[in-house]
């Protein structure tokens, strides 16, 4: 059969099941170093919340997680996990009751408790230096990929694919490859019900430049500059903005951004489960779906890396519901 060699970067095998822990370990150590006693964080899918609660348990830091009421409903198991780890999960009912609203509440909590609290931002978002700091902690993904691929193939990959919510797994994967111009980089956003509907999270494809949570970036917004709700079957991609560095990489055309619908992601979720025995996170399934398309344009001398940002155990229930509809 034609087509490239396909490698997975297995962030799903990390403790807590996603790349998120790379960042939370780094930031929790900083919090400890700064003498902070408490940590606050937002979470969408619950993966960042679980990763934060985990390091807080380890380092004996008090942990408060803000999570949209809608996401609490979609990700019950992760809510229980966070509580089991000793975190307090606060439900957020404002706005669309998803990730951006959880960020608002976490920021409000932080300014009120800034003396003893550190905010562990979960993606390459928010005010400086968060986007840079989160990128640096996540860049281990790209560094390991580079080293390991050079060992196996004695050359760099020809293409690298990652899903983009806020953009942390993608930024961490891409960053060490930015200067390697022969490596094609592909970021995949959530197209939800389709980019021509009102229900998607395809910020880079359909958004316009704006400012939210301290970053200038592409945003889903109205003519009057009000932020719009994002929609995706995967809670972790449900954010109406995208990291400022991704916005820049789009503008200079270093990374090609595309989007994948809920339906395509569901197909990829099943495809990877059946063919490889790996159940991917719904977020990562977006990267898998796009990679299937990209692979068809590549030759068998080439290689392609997919960032498998997380495992799909947390999504099994909602996938079952979606497939039964």
């Amino acid at each position: 059969m034609a087509g490239p060699k396909i490698y997975f970067k297995r962030e799903d095998l990390n403790h807590t099941g996603a790349h998120k822990i790379n960042n939370t370990i780094g930031q929790a150590l900083l919090a400890e170093r700064m003498g902070k006693k408490k940590v606050v964080a937002e979470t969408g899918a619950g993966q960042h919340g679980v990763a934060t609660a985990t390091v807080c348990a380890l380092l004996n830091l008090e942990c408060i997680i803000f999570m949209g009421a809608e996401d609490i409903r979609r990700q019950k198991l992760n809510v229980f996990r966070m509580e089991l780890l000793g975190a307090r999960v606060e439900s957020v009912d404002q706005g669309s009751a998803t990730l951006k609203d959880a960020v608002n509440e976490a920021l409000r909590y932080w300014v009120t408790n800034v003396e003893d609290t550190h905010y562990i931002m979960g993606s390459v978002l928010g005010p400086h230096p968060f986007p840079k700091m989160v990128r640096d902690f996540q860049s281990i993904i790209g560094k390991e990929t580079k080293t390991q691929l050079l060992e196996k193939e004695h050359k760099l990959p020809d293409a690298v694919v990652a899903c983009v919510g806020g953009g942390s797994n993608a930024m961490g994967m891409f960053y060490p490859f930015i200067e390697d111009h022969d490596v094609k980089l592909y970021g995949v956003e959530a197209a939800g019900s389709g980019v021509n509907t009102e229900r998607h999270a395809a910020t880079l494809t359909k958004g316009s430049v704006g400012i939210l949570h301290g970053s200038m970036m592409y945003l889903l917004q109205s003519e009057a500059g009000q932020i719009q709700e994002a929609h995706s079957i995967s809670a972790g991609l449900d954010y109406p903005g995208v990291g400022p560095e991704h916005s820049h990489l789009k503008d200079i055309e270093r990374v090609q951004y595309s989007s994948v619908t809920d339906e395509e992601a569901l197909e990829a979720f099943q495809l990877l489960s059946k063919t490889e025995g790996i159940i991917p996170a719904l977020e990562s399934s977006h990267a898998v779906a796009e990679a299937v398309k990209i692979a068809q344009t590549m030759s068998k001398e080439e290689s392609l890396v997919i960032c498998l940002s997380g495992r799909g155990d947390k999504d099994v229930e909602s996938v079952k519901d979606a497939l039964n509809q």
Partner: protein, 265 residues
């Protein structure tokens, strides 16, 4: 006949200094534009101005008001449900600004301005008689985005100073502030409070030292007693959430009492 006031930084500063030279403290109420419908806005502004508000902070509703507590969040939500936008507020003021004497300061998050287009916004704000701007989510380092245009148009850009700012930062902000310096009196977001930090007095007196413009205390101030207490430590107050609640309850007497408590006895 329409009056011929030239609005902007100068008008704001003259008005504030006049109040102080009369021995009064400065009182700045906050209202959310379009809360209760846009038709309510001019009557509310007129009432506050005529009752003795020194200047008025006019909130522009935004979908993600991270600096605001529940009262102002809800007011903004009510305004957004009425489809109130930065543009519709400006258009209304272009027609009706002449009815209100008090300087008007827009308090808006940066994204609605950015989406409007910065140059267009400033041109329209000038025509609408806007005297100053407060942009809580635009950090000092990023203000070049708008400050040169504002200086040209003569509209004041007001700096917010937090309790946790270092001495160096306080100095930097106080020196850059135009119109007045906005001293945030609590760690946190807007909303009525019952008491304040013990070290507030030292913080405010340090600010007074660095700031050539008047220093106004805001966030949490919600009773005539607070107004008097702050009046002893600063040049005046900004009252937000409480005014919004009182306007909703139509409790004009309590509003009058709040304003009155800023005047010389």
């Amino acid at each position: 006949m329409r009056n011929t006031i030239t609005h902007g930084r100068e008008y704001l500063e003259t008005t504030l200094n006049q109040t102080l030279s009369q021995g009064n403290k400065i009182f700045v109420p906050y209202v959310m534009a379009g809360d209760g419908g846009l038709d309510q806005l001019i009557p509310n502004l007129k009432f506050l101005s005529e009752e003795g508000a020194t200047a008025i902070e006019l909130g522009i509703p935004f979908s993600d008001p991270v600096a605001d507590g529940p009262t102002i969040q809800e007011a903004g939500k009510r305004a957004l449900e009425q489809n109130v936008t930065l543009k519709s507020v400006i258009e209304l003021l272009k027609q009706e600004r002449y009815q209100i004497d008090a300087p008007i300061i827009f308090m808006t998050y940066i994204n609605p301005i950015f989406k409007y287009g910065i140059e267009n916004f400033i041109k329209d704000a000038q025509e609408a008689g806007v005297d100053g701007l407060i942009i809580p989510d635009l950090p000092f380092e990023q203000q070049v985005l708008i400050s040169n245009h504002l200086n040209e148009a003569g509209i004041a850009l007001i700096q917010l100073v937090s309790l946790t700012s270092s001495k160096k930062r306080i100095k930097q902000l106080a020196e850059a502030s135009q119109g007045f310096t906005y001293a945030i009196t609590v760690n946190g977001i807007t909303g009525a409070r019952s008491n304040f930090a013990k070290d507030l007095e030292a913080h405010l007196s340090q600010l007074q030292e660095f700031s050539s413009a008047p220093v106004l205390a805001g966030f949490g101030i919600s009773s005539p007693e607070h107004v008097e207490q702050m009046g002893n430590m600063a040049d005046g107050v900004i009252v937000g959430s409480k005014i919004i609640e009182l306007l909703q309850d139509n409790d004009t007497d309590s509003i009058k009492r709040l304003i009155e408590s800023s005047k010389a006895k």
